[in-house]
């Protein structure tokens, strides 16, 4: 196994497959969200397409999106309008470059991995801004401005939460962060950073939800007010890519990132379970975070933009600064 | 809240509005009075502000087309304090129907007067924005007037044997 992984071509193939998996993964995640949401709401959700519990529902949706007419409004800025799906998708997909699925199973183990992910994840907002401006629609413009304001408010707590983890590990490389979590070992159990960074984890989840513009922080797309905000004018495959695919890919990306930072990434929970490939553990941990995100989505109403800003600047950022200090203090205590 | 019987309330209304209105009567537990258009603003103000009447609740304003006898504007107010309804009937001439607006006293009369104006063609003098409420800007005619025939009947008579408007004997659709 280890030899095969060392082979350059096999590695390249594996790296490429990560990107190829992403689109089907959005379909699966979309279906999972439909089913979880349905069961939380005392419904069944899709039951017919594909036979077994409507597994092909999102696939059918995808085909429907492809077949739909692709409309560009007459007054839209055509080139910018058409570029949006690529930008939002790219920003989302770039995250996966540095997420390690094993000690060597990573596309690029960047020295600044943490900040690379944070930078890549905010590229999507540029796409939203482009969509809002180019659509020549007031609702889109308002949605885009909300998204931009939200990004500024939430990037900071996200960075600070990740910084605390980087302090714990003493490195910005995601592989090093996972290895650092593997080094904390009690009776064979690998202890991830979660117990030490529980505050940071909550800040990370909150900020990630805001960054993903998912409820309760979905003001930029608020369908009851702004009618999916920046993407009001998008139709067909462009709509599917710029809204759904981008949202689900960055959701998976940020969840995998969170799993790497706080839950030990590809590290198994116990040294005896090393024989199971790291990618399985990463997947399980990612799914746990995804479930949390989905759970929150189907539970809470939407905040107001100014309330969100207040929450971010007056509560979350001070809290994450305190968390940084606490982490520093933890690092200085001799028994760690 | 102190409840007052309609007869007692009618006595109060008639004593307060003696020289402003006439024809006081109690029908189905509601007090009714006739008011000349020139007096309507004073009457409504008295009804609203007088502590013994306190008709602060604006129920509705609408019209009735009595054809040759002109129009009748109906205003219904309610006193939440005393639990009584006061209805006012304002006769308005058929030619150039017009009466003063009461939006100065009840701002809510705004929409009601606009509706009555477009439906009956009654002019409410002094209304701040007497444009059409429901109908499109370029609509011609006043639909609730009796000489305005139901549009579907103009194009096609009722297909059944028994058009209720004919069967009733009057045939005044």
């Amino acid at each position: 196994m280890a030899d095969a992984l060392g082979n350059g071509y096999v590695q390249l193939g594996l790296k490429m497959s990560v990107l190829l998996i992403l689109l089907p993964a959005t379909l699966v995640l979309g279906w999972v969200e439909l089913k979880i949401g349905a069961h939380m709401q005392a419904r069944l959700g899709p039951m017919y397409p594909g036979g077994f519990h409507g597994w092909a529902q999102t696939l059918a949706d995808g085909i429907k999106f492809v077949l739909k007419e692709n409309i560009i409004p007459r007054n839209a800025d055509r080139s910018v309008f058409a570029l949006v799906p690529y930008v939002t998708m790219l920003g989302a997909a770039l995250i996966f470059v540095v997420i390690p699925a094993g000690r060597n199973l990573v596309i690029e183990d960047l020295e600044v991995g943490v900040f690379y992910v944070l930078a890549a994840s905010s590229v999507g907002v540029i796409g939203i801004l482009m969509a809002g401006w180019s659509s020549a629609n007031k609702y889109s413009l308002m949605g885009a401005l909300r998204a931009a304001a939200q990004l500024i408010a939430y990037e900071l707590p996200l960075v600070l939460a990740a910084a605390a983890v980087a302090m714990m590990a003493g490195s910005l490389s995601l592989v090093d962060i996972v290895e650092a979590q593997k080094s904390i070992e009690i009776a064979g159990f690998y202890i991830p950073f979660l117990p030490f960074q529980i505050v940071g984890f909550i800040i990370f989840l909150t900020a990630a939800t805001a960054e993903l513009t998912r409820p309760p922080f979905d003001m930029p797309v608020a369908e009851a007010e702004l009618i999916t905000g920046a993407f009001t004018e998008y139709t067909g495959i462009r709509f599917a890519f710029s809204l759904f695919a981008a949202e689900y890919i960055s959701m998976i990306g940020l969840a995998a990132f969170g799993a790497t930072l706080f839950l030990g990434g590809y590290a198994p929970p116990h040294s005896a379970l090393e024989f199971i490939p790291g990618i399985v553990w990463l997947l399980l941990k990612t799914l746990t975070i995804l479930f949390l995100l989905i759970w929150v989505r189907w539970t809470y109403p939407r905040l107001r933009e100014d309330q969100l800003q207040k929450f971010a600047w007056k509560f979350l950022i001070p809290l994450s600064l305190v968390n940084i200090f606490a982490t520093g203090a933890l690092k200085l205590t001799p028994w760690i | 809240m102190e409840r007052v019987g309609p007869e007692e309330f009618s006595r109060r209304v008639s004593s307060k509005l003696e020289d402003l209105a006439s024809g006081f009567e109690v029908q189905y537990g509601h007090v009714w009075a006739r008011v000349e258009p020139s007096r309507i603003v004073d009457v409504v103000r008295t009804l609203k502000t007088d502590p013994g009447l306190a008709c602060t609740y604006f129920t509705f304003l609408s019209g009735v087309d009595w054809q040759a006898q002109g129009f009748e504007v109906v205003i219904v107010l309610y006193s939440v304090t005393y639990g009584n309804t006061v209805g006012l009937k304002v006769p308005v001439p058929a030619e150039n129907p017009s009466m003063p607006t009461i939006t100065g006293i009840f701002r809510s009369a705004d929409w009601h007067e606009r509706e009555a104006s477009e439906m009956f063609g009654i002019n409410f003098e002094g209304h701040p924005n007497l444009v059409k409420l429901y109908l499109p800007e370029d609509f011609i005619g006043h639909p609730l007037r009796k000489d305005f025939r139901l549009a579907s009947r103009v194009f096609k008579p009722w297909p059944g044997a028994k058009d209720p408007s004919e069967a009733a004997g009057g045939g005044r659709a």
Binding site: Q41, A42, N75, W133, A136, N137, K138, M142, D218, M219, A222, A224, E225, L226, I227, W298, Y300, P301, R302, L303, R304, E305, D306 | M1, Q27, Y28, G29, T56, Y57, F58, T59, F60, S62, V64, D65, V76, V80, G83, T85, F106, R107, S108, W111, M119, K132, L133, Y134, L135, P136, L144, F148, L150, R153, D163, P164, S165, A168, G169, G170, A173
Partner: protein, 386 residues
Amino acid sequence: MSTLIPTTDRWLREARLAGDATLRTEEMVLNIGPQHPATHGVLRVVVTLDGEKIVEGTPVVGYMHRGHEKLFEQRDFRQITNLCSRMDWLSGLNNEIPASIAVERLMELEVPRRATYLRVIMAEINRILNHLMFTGSFGLELGATTPVMYAFRERELLQSAMELATGGRLHFGFIRPGGLKEDVPRGFVDLALRGIRQLQKAIPDYEDLLMGNEIFKARTVGVGVLDPDLALEYGVSGPILRGSGIPYDVRKAEPYLNYDEFDFNIPVGTNGDSFDRYWVLIQEMKESAKIVEQALLDLPAGSHIGQVPKRLTIPKGAIWAKAENPLGELGYYIVSDGEAKPYRMKARTPSFNNISVVPHMLRGAYVPDMVAILGSMFFVVGDIDR
């Protein structure tokens, strides 16, 4: 549209030409509706925005005007009750009641006790159905997708009970002057009781799900405060007026049918904000459930319709009859000239007055608040436009 959103270049150039080095801001006019999820129906609100703040918001109505009042003049009184149910399509049965009461008072018809009881039962079930719809959709407008699903779950049994009795799920057409179209079938009482019991069990869940939620409170407490005096001046009625602290309910103020024989309370809010209106709605469901329970357990035997002549000829005269619709005070002013159809029939619908006060509430609110305000004004566009 290009004039509405100036490109950056032109904007800058204009600013320079005006001798103003700084960028200027301007107010934006935004059309919310007539096709917009927050206006459920075809209400249009023209708002002038300063950023996200509403400077001025004006509802524009009439997209669903169907000329009910003209149609009333073409129908006889038996047909009119069916026409009435189309005004507020969420509470069809409640719309029929005052129309038939007006005719009964004019003709001095006697309504049998069983019919009166059944009218109360069905009117209150219809009120619960309506309130469930609005509690659910209010959550939906604030972004909470779950309450509406729960509400529809509880609606189903009650809806089936109504369907069993009337054959309709939305427009029941069950009230006739003098009584009811027909007696309720076997099983109605049990089914309705089951529905009520299920609802009573579920209401605490609704309260926990939204009213205990911090985000929900942040979005609704202090938002869209309606001053009680303003509410009275505008003739606002129903849960909205009671949310502002005025205990005016036609069922208590001027009892019709036999509401005076039942034991129920009028829930009254204190602050008049969106939260209080929602709270009143939930409490009213409890009270309605109480009434239905009492009436079902006490349902007298007898005929479902009184002595009604074959042809309804109404004596000359005029009458103003009102009832408590789920959304507020619904009344009809009927002028009869002694024929089978009314000479004039004015429908005073609650949503019309309720929505006319909205400009006062929108001023100074944010765009998301507008959704909370409109959602808590509980209107049906068919009821505004008639």
